[in-house]
Symmetry: C2
Subunit: 106 residues, 2 copies
Amino acid sequence: MDFQRIGDMKRFSTEKYQKVSLFESDLTAMDVYCLAPGQSQKLHNHKANDKYYLIWEGRATVQIGSEIRELGPGEAALARPGVDHAISNNSTEPVVAVVFQAPKSF
Amino acid sequence: MDFQRIGDMKRFSTEKYQKVSLFESDLTAMDVYCLAPGQSQKLHNHKANDKYYLIWEGRATVQIGSEIRELGPGEAALARPGVDHAISNNSTEPVVAVVFQAPKSF
């Protein structure tokens, strides 16, 4: 499927943040991350990938390397290869972020 | 710079649609396309790239291969390698789209 709507793909769980695939190809992936208040994707890095977080809804705490910022809708961050990154929802409202990753390596 | 805000990067011209770089790396690029009413990026394809359009503001007419759809905020489309694609603003309001491309080949 080469068309998707973020609103159709949102899904939250009380157990952990949800990672929902919007698109996947041999080269790239676009996902939607849905973080309820208190949920996070822990600090990690990808040896050979660029990874982007683009905040769609809510306010997220995003770490790229040693820099930590609170981002709202329309704000984006790039983690280049080998750079530690994390996203957390430290707010009281849901967070929805669009995540692009390339090259695909998972 | 590894943090950006779409709202800071929007730029329109009466001459043609504007392509504004948000991020660029050795692997990928994320741009913002700003199309005034009547403006378009013509049908074309990239031999080896995935290219995504994610509509941020307004209503855009997006063609992927032979399929043409009108997309609004939160709707996204993927043009896989070799697949013709185009984006037009056939509405009376501005269109802002986030465009993600990988591998970088330009």
